[in-house]
Amino acid sequence: MDITRNKYDGIAVCAPVTIPYTRYSLKSSHWFCGQSIAALIKRAKIKKEAIDGFCISSFTLSPDSAVGLMQHLGTSPRWLDHIPMGGASGGVALRRAARAVQSGDAEIVACVGADTNHVDTFRNTIATFSQFANDAVYPYGSGGPNSSFAFLTDYYMREFGAKREDFGKLCIAQRENALPVKHAMMKKPLNMDDYINARTIADPIRLYDCVMPCAGAEGFLVMSIERAKFLKLPYTQILSTIERHNAFPDDPIQYRGGWAIDVDEFYEQAGLGPKDMDLVQLYDDYPVICFMQIEDLGFCDKGEASKFIKDKDLTTKGNFPLNTSGGQLSQGQAGAGGGFLGVVETIRQLTGEVLGYQVDNVQNGLVSCFGMINYDRGLCTSAAILSKGDL
């Protein structure tokens, strides 16, 4: 029996909000979640009670989950989801919230990815990340994601001949995209010499391959198109989404992600192809992961990403606008907020609510998310194609 997946007809994604990033914060994740929801209410000009669904993602909410947060914020939603998928949570939140609204289980769902960052937060998070991480990777040098991605980068470079200059091109373009974003952690232009000669963190990864952990939050609302129009909110529509966990478990080392399994269905549902994307947001905690996504999402064949970006201009003015607000590499990684950054930036670009540069003439945007590097590889992938809604 062949079941066709339902489309996301009638669903609007709107009201992108960002709580400005700071390197460290004394505030709790509850504060960042609460500020995000307050910002969403303000942006949509609705009452708190109008939001009857919440989809929350946060590493640092512990010992609370989304449940305790609801009491904290005095909200009584009829639909609540807590998504523990880190970098993949934005794309996953989007599709779950859309189905909740589509089915009538909720009318307005607030999706929030938020995290705080105290001075010891990052170390504590990676030191107790998961059973496999505690048992089989953290006691090995305690490098955190740097060491795991060093393996993947080392393998990818050797297997496919990618050069550090290729990664550098991406990092430099993203930095340029980030320059007008006020709260970006990295505000100075980056050049190739700086990139290549930066201090080594975990060979072959150097400083500018890494994201800066920080505090901050990203959020958006999911509701019916009718309601978005009634509220006069510029919106985007969901053309397609995918989600996959623990893909290719038999690959000895990760060189592809779950997108590669689902890519055909992804474009089929949208009725579009990679060439139709006017802008692309890729999960960028390290450049090698962007390269994998460019390949796995069908922009080029496996191992060809270096070649693919060679003649592309990746800035907001270019012919392949990528991570148009600078991505996490320049803005910083606000924990689970990093998993929402791409979704929120896509909504911003398509609804004209950018914090930095606006890409001209945009209709369709692709966003891809990647999360939870556990033991030796990243486990969660998600992606979505959004298109500009007509007001």
Binding site: N134, D135, P249, Y375
Partner: protein
């Protein structure tokens, strides 16, 4: 080739001594299955009883068929190095003090991909051999070295954290008046120990072994009587800050049972030497060694007790001796726990009957002291926790594992 180990230098008193810190020690119960295998030097991983899939990291459910019958089995320790990194940054104090730190991801012949501490000579895409080692926090970790042993590989500073090659280290051997004491001293010198300190009790009693020790190079004899608190204290204050490997080979064996040969004096002496002696050594050498565990590649590292396998099961022909050994074994577990906090590993060697004047009527197979000494050195070099020496000791361990009640009823000399 591995970078040769730097020669120990005279310590600069104006320089800060590195304060001991430990690698992250949080492990699941399943992961301690690795520790059990590492303790005896096995390379064993969980294997599914149903589908035979080899599992790593350790878990409770087979990742292939969801069966919960996973057993620890010896598996091929070969593999290929897929990717590597040299960490220049770490989030943990222990590693921060020791960077750069080399790591790799190995595809094991047995199946899984394994993140491992990497020996200096490992080369990408080439074959490696893995072992289960125990890190300074006392937990199992996997280390990888080139498939074929390379020159000076034991000099690898990173892997030396998990193994206790006597080379360039200073060793205290507690009792020099036994043949085993002599052989340990000889083998320590041969293995490149920087200094060998040997204890000698009862100065009125001459010993041909001690005379031979006296002739060894880099070896010096000190008065040490483990039954005398002041004696232990005095030696610890004299050389405690130089001891990097302590070998407690205190030995007092007399034949005899309990009901049939009541001898409280012998029992008292055995306890005094094996149990209270270990207490005294621990009280005075323990704290100093703990403070020096991070003192460069030549810092204090290991404490080894030479015990009898009868510590594990009472042999009625050696009733009180066995009991005193069991007491020492029990205390060694506490010692391991307390010394682990300072990064010092506690190892126990379990021997079968040794060919000496006190075990004349024990039937063969009996161990030549030189064999025991060589196995002790090898155990240190491999960083094993339990060094089982000889056929009798091995059989005792196997029989206890199989049916402790059976061996309890039938064991005799």
């Amino acid at each position: 080739m591995t970078t040769p180990l730097s020669k120990p230098k005279r310590k600069d008193p104006t320089k800060r001594t590195r304060i001991p810190s430990l690698p992250p020690g949080k492990r699941s119960r399943e992961a301690h299955g690795l520790t059990a295998m590492a303790a005896v030097g096995r390379f064993a991983l969980q294997v599914c009883n149903e589908c035979q899939k080899v599992q790593y990291p350790p878990r409770q459910i087979c990742s292939n068929c969801l069966n919960d019958k996973l057993f620890w089995r010896d598996v091929n320790n070969g593999g290929k190095l897929l990717a590597e990194t040299k960490l220049q940054h770490s989030n943990d104090t222990y590693f921060r003090d020791r960077i750069p730190w080399r790591l790799g991801i190995v595809i094991a012949d047995a199946g899984p991909s394994i993140v491992a501490h990497l020996g200096e000579d490992c080369i990408r895409d080439q074959r490696v051999r893995m072992s289960l080692s125990i890190d300074r926090a006392g937990n199992a970790v996997i280390t990888a070295r080139p498939e074929k042993p390379t020159q000076l590989e034991e000099d690898d500073v990173q892997l030396r954290e998990m193994a206790f090659n006597p080379k360039d280290r200073r060793v205290l051997i507690v009792d020099g008046k036994t043949e085993l004491g002599l052989r340990i001293a000889e083998n320590m010198v041969a293995a490149g120990a920087r200094d060998v300190f040997v204890g000698s009790a009862e100065p009125w009693r001459s010993s041909s072994y001690l005379d031979k020790i006296n002739d060894l190079e880099r070896t010096s004899i000190y008065s040490l009587d483990v039954t005398d608190t002041e004696s232990v204290k005095e030696l610890a204050s004299m050389i405690g800050d130089k001891v990097e490997i302590l070998v407690n080979n205190s030995y007092h064996l007399r034949m005899g049972g309990l009901v049939d040969k009541f001898d409280i004096n012998t029992a008292h002496d055995e306890m005094e030497i094996h149990y209270h002696g270990l207490m005294r050594l621990a009280a005075f050498f323990g704290p100093i060694m703990k403070l020096r565990s991070a003192d460069g590649p030549h810092g204090a590292s290991a404490w080894l007790n030479v015990l009898s396998a009868y510590a594990l099961i009472n042999n009625p022909d050696l009733a009180t001796y066995s009991a005193s050994q069991a007491a020492a074994l029990s205390l060694s577990q506490c010692l391991r726990s307390e010394m682990a906090a300072g990064g010092i590993r506690v190892l126990n060697a379990f021997t079968g009957p040794i060919e000496d004047e006190w075990q004349q009527i024990a039937p063969p197979p009996k161990l030549i002291p030189d064999t025991v000494a060589k196995r002790i050195i090898k155990g240190l070099q491999d960083g094993k926790e339990d060094i089982i020496i000889g056929a009798v000791a091995e059989e005792i361990c196997a029989r206890i594992a199989e049916n402790a009640k059976e061996i309890e009823r039938t064991i005799k000399l």
